[in-house]
Amino acid sequence: MASAVRDLELDLDAFEGPFDLLLTLLLKDAIQPSEIDMAGIVVAFVERLAERDELDLDACGEFLVLIAALLELKARHLFPDEEAELSELEPEEAAEELARRLAEYRRMKHAAVWLRERLEEEKGRFFRIGPAPLAPEPERRLAQQSPLRLVEALQALAVEPPHVSLSHMALRFPPVGQFVERFRALLLRRRRFDFDAEVQGLSRVEQAVAFLALLELRKEGEIAISQAAAFAPIRISRADDTITYSDDGRMLQWTARSA
């Protein structure tokens, strides 16, 4: 009979559907517990009980456990900072605090009822919201201004803009092709070379372009690139020359793919 609880149909402000779906959504954080009117759930359950002749104790038990858990979840959600504060209270103090809050809420409920009645009374009183049809246009007024401000404004417009230096734009930016050709020529003369040694003395921009040229050559399959470790010198060798030599003369096997 436990399904009497989980199948419980709810029609709340924030949720409409069976209780077990609500639980699922709450556990998945798809609904905030603070959005849920717990009293509404209790009322729905009590109404469901009342519809049946016999008292289903199993269902009541399951419901109590679930609703208590939900209440705790909601309380934590609503008063995250007060958990510690409230737990330090003596039972009498806690009851006092709770009573104070319940009384406050009850007062506000009364106030809401009073406002509702008031609204009903005032329903027959119409008034205009917003401007009148023939209201005068509000006039914008400006304080007295000095004519010198006009002069200043035009003087600012008459100042030649400062000559913007473009020297930083004039960085030497050699074409990649230049390094491609240079490295090809180098590899015709030598089987391998050290990239760092080759670009030593060049500007950072030139070094960057030189590296782009390496990548270009490697993409074309013309060279193999190797590096013994991070930050170790980059070695370049002909792609057809799969045998390269380390500094100490040991023979090392490289392929273009391995780098």
Binding site: S34, L98, A99, A103, A112, R125
Partner: protein, 200 residues
């Protein structure tokens, strides 16, 4: 019926009363005594006399225009006898479909404002976000600064439109709710009884 009218036209406040009529008929909101003093460049006492005459002229049963003392000021509204005709022509967008949650929320803001959303949620026991948003959109509450401290929550208070819609002369016209104070003691006793029963 002729007496106050003759009074208006022969009394020196006659012209002042006409000026006030003019101001009230073009004003977008209730006008306070101070605003009337400023606009008419006349003195408060004479303005109050003039308002008295206008109140006599523009009252239920005598005129379709009714002078109301509302929202801390004076405003013209329609006579109640014209409600049916008004309802055929004008919507009441501010209060139409005001939910129970919104009413409770606006009650909290009216009595305790300026008050923040977390405070409202604490009292109602339910998050107040959508109720607050709907009240702001209707113009019944508006932002009123923030709670102190960095990142303090926005606080809200009721607007003069709230007072107008609920026909309140001012917030002081809200009924005192202190008389429900005894409830707190009753609730506390009940809670303690429950606690003792559990402990025993």
């Amino acid at each position: 019926m002729d007496r106050p009218l003759r009074l208006i036209s022969s009394n020196p406040v006659d012209e002042l009363a006409r000026t006030i009529e003019a101001l009230l008929v073009v004003a977008s909101q209730p006008l306070t005594l101070e605003e009337l003093v400023e606009a008419t460049a006349d003195d408060a006492e004479r303005i109050e006399i003039a308002l008295g005459l206008l109140g006599e002229r523009y009252r239920e049963g005598r005129s379709g225009i009714v002078l109301q003392k509302v929202a801390g000021g004076y405003a013209f509204g329609a006579a109640r006898e014209a409600a049916e005709a008004c309802a055929r022509l004008f919507e009441r967008p501010v209060e139409r479909g005001l939910s129970q949650a919104a009413l409770e929320t606006v009650a909290i803001v009216a009595y305790l404002g300026p008050v923040s959303r977390p405070e409202i949620a604490r009292i109602r026991g339910v998050a107040a976000d959508s109720a607050v948003a709907s009240l702001v959109e209707r113009g019944l509450i508006s932002e009123a600064g923030r709670e102190s401290g960095p990142g303090g929550a926005v606080r809200y208070r009721v607007t003069s439109l709230f007072e107008r819609v609920f026909g309140l002369e001012s917030l002081a016209a809200l009924p005192r709710l202190d008389d429900i104070g005894e409830d707190q003691a009753a609730i506390r006793d009940r809670l303690l009884q429950v606690a003792e029963a559990r402990a025993s």
